[in-house]
């Protein structure tokens, strides 16, 4: 099943299937290791629609939900 990244619950992980970001965001994501086929995990979500904490490889990243909406992930089931 493919969903938007912010749909994932804390502790859930998935595999990136697509990144629909503009050039600016795409570059930043790529440099931080976000590529199609990479596994990532949502560590926690900030309260009141705050940012997400995403773990990808050995790197932890915080990003706003509207940026995270651009990332599609495949989750089992």
């Amino acid at each position: 099943m493919t969903v938007n990244l912010p749909t994932l619950q804390p502790g859930q992980s998935g595999t990136i299937t697509a990144i629909h970001a503009g050039e600016d965001l795409y570059h930043r994501l790529a440099a931080l290791g976000f590529r199609v086929g990479k596994r990532l995990e949502i560590v926690r979500k900030g309260c009141c629609s705050g940012p997400l904490q995403v773990r990808i490889g050995t790197t932890d990243v915080i990003m706003r939900r509207h940026d995270a909406l651009q990332i599609d992930v495949k989750v089992p089931g």
Binding site: D24, L32, R35, R44, P51, I62, D67
Partner: protein
């Protein structure tokens, strides 16, 4: 002289390495074609002097953030002999891309793999000779913070700089275009020389984050931490400021005064009360800036600043700011000057400018002194705390209003994606060097402007010399009189207008200036003020003082940090206009209600 560029990703310990390498000798330098300050230092390397330039931390040489463009423009316009590339060993699997980008450009370089200590904890091992062979550049593992293998790294750097020649800018410019092969070569190098365990063990950082990023406890601890920082700056800063003032006074009494006796009175006054006081105004900020940045270094280097950004972002993003702006606004309640300097952690210029526009509305400790004096003079002991509290609320309200009104104009287009580094202990050396660099920066950039301003105000309040200082006959008095039609609707008379002119220099001297203007001191002054105005006038005056303009040092810092006179004038114009409107609305409203 050979020139070395220091390059690396954010949070790789690049600045720690720079500080270790250069000690306290670094200077802020201007470079052609670049609008931001870069730190540079001349150090002996391999028997000759070399100039080291610390470039901003970037993720991608071909990226489009402000910093990435700065680095590209620097490399295209400044011939370097060697690039020192610093990467974080524990994140090598993604950071290696930068090394391959450098290699592709044909820049002579040395790869320094930092944080070897952290990588060891993760169980990551690197075969440096295999990596060096594939990358075509020397590779050294070391720890900038603890100095492990530091000497070894430096001898490799010295050998490399001895053998290298400056790059040809022409060919470099041609090559500076994105290349898609990098990703493939990266995979190949990683496969051959790096082993990363499948799943990382739970680190201490994860356990700490569970508390510090908790929606309730995290925010509570954040405010507690901010309160502590704020209190510490206040508690240690005040005695230090007093100490500096005492030393300056001592120097004046025992060295300057005897030296200058016999000079005509106006010249004597100009030198001591104008020029020397100007120096004193600058000096008074030094302890606060040192303390602030000592504490900021701890907050930043431990990795807590990114956590604070995570906690406060939901609130701040609605105002066009981000979590880090909130930390700086809170710091502004101690003193606006270091808070403005602290916005440098934000790399997007519009975001930084919007934060700088908001910070001067923070009710700093100097303004608090004025309000304490006036509330004591005009309000009962029961009313006074409420009055003060209302001023703090107004300070927040004006900051929020400013952010909301200007967020379209200073729209931040950079995506908010921040790395959350693991918690690290800063070393004392790092902390002290940071404080020293910031003070140096403040002194070299803002001090002339501040001294000139203090001298100007002294002249305004003393010319012509035939008049009583700060009396209606002086130039300041004349300006105060001319402002009367503008200030009378706010309930501010010409005497208080002169005090507001003094307040431009520093809010601390407003009360002192009232003493000069009324020729009264202590309780007599308090009584005179209480007779001069009623509470509506007093509140209107405090409202105006809160908003109308930050002190001269803040203005100087605004100008030196934004590097834009236009922005500084916008900030001044907006706060003056807002102050007038608020005071007018309050004063006329209260009078209309018959108060």
């Amino acid at each position: 002289m050979k020139r070395i560029a220091l390059l690396g990703m954010p949070n790789t310990g690049k600045s720690t390495f720079f500080n270790r390498l250069t000690g306290a000798s670094a200077r802020v330098g201007n470079w052609p074609g670049i609008t931001v300050d870069l730190m540079s230092a001349k150090v002996p390397l391999g028997g000759a002097m070399a100039e080291i330039v610390d470039l901003p931390g970037i993720y991608d040489l071909h990226g489009f953030s402000d910093d990435e463009q700065v680095v590209r423009h620097f490399l295209e316009n400044t011939p370097v002999d060697l690039v020192l590339l610093i990467l974080n060993t524990s994140q090598i699997e993604r950071q290696l891309a930068l090394a391959l980008q450098i290699k592709q450009l044909g820049l002579p370089s040395v790869l320094l793999l930092n944080m070897s200590d952290e990588a060891k904890k993760f169980g990551i091992t690197v075969n440096t000779s295999s990596m060096a062979e594939q990358l075509g550049m020397p590779v050294v593992l070391f720890s900038a913070k603890y100095g492990e293998h530091y000497q070894e790294a430096m001898s490799v750097v010295a050998a490399a700089i001895g053998a290298s020649h400056p790059v040809q800018l022409e060919s470099l410019r041609e090559k500076l275009q994105p290349d898609h092969q990098i990703e493939a070569s990266m995979e190949a190098v990683l496969k051959k020389s790096v082993i990363i365990p499948e799943r990382l063990s739970e680190q201490l950082s994860d356990r700490l984050d569970r508390v510090l990023l908790h929606p309730f406890w995290g925010i509570l601890l954040f405010f507690a931490a901010m309160f502590l920082v704020f209190q510490a700056v206040f508690a240690f800063g005040k005695p230090l400021q007093d100490g500096v003032a005492w030393l300056l006074e001592l120097f004046k009494d025992y060295a300057l005064e005897p030296l200058l006796t016999g000079l005509p009175a106006p010249l004597h006054g100009f030198l001591i009360d104008g020029l020397y006081n100007g120096v004193g105004t600058v000096a008074a900020f030094v302890p606060v800036i040192v303390l602030f940045f000592l504490l900021m270094a701890v907050v930043e280097d431990t990795g807590y600043l990114s956590r604070a950004a995570f906690l406060m972002d939901a609130l701040m993003s609605r105002m066009g700011l981000d979590g880090r702006s909130f930390v700086m606004v809170l710091m502004g309640f101690g003193c606006n000057v270091p808070a403005l300097m602290g916005t440098r952690v934000m790399r997007s210029r519009p975001l930084r400018l919007l934060s700088m526009l908001v910070i001067p509305f923070s009710l700093c400790s100097a303004r608090l002194q004025v309000f304490l004096f006036i509330t004591t003079a005009l309000f009962t002991a029961k009313q006074a705390p409420l009055v003060l509290f209302s001023l703090y609320l107004l300070s927040f309200a004006t900051a929020i209003l400013t952010a909301l009104l200007f967020r379209k104009r200073f729209q931040n287009n950079e995506p908010f994606i921040l790395e959350l580094p693991p918690y690290r202990l800063p070393t004392l050396r790092q902390i002290v060097l940071r404080g020293w660099h910031e003070v140096h920066h403040f002194l070299s950039r803002a001090s002339k402007f501040i001294v000139a301003g203090v001298v100007l105000v002294w002249l305004l309040t003393h010319l012509p010399f035939s008049a009583q200082p700060a009396s209606p006959e002086t130039w300041a008095g004349l300006i105060g009189g001319a402002m009367e039609p503008l200030l009378a609707p706010l309930g501010i008379d010409h005497k208080l207008a002169v005090a507001l002119i003094f307040g431009l220099v520093a809010k601390e001297i407003v009360i002192g200036s009232l003493a000069v203007i009324f020729s009264l001191e202590g309780d007599a002054l308090t009584r005179a003020i209480a007779q001069q105005m009623d509470w509506v006038q007093a509140y209107s005056f405090m409202l105006f003082t809160l908003v109308y303009t930050p002190c001269l040092s803040t203005i100087a810092t605004l100008r030196s940090e934004s590097k834009s006179l236009g922005f500084t004038l916008l900030s001044l114009g907006w706060s003056l206009g807002l102050a007038w409107t608020l005071s007018f609305a309050f004063y006329q409203g209260a009078r209309a209600l018959g108060l």
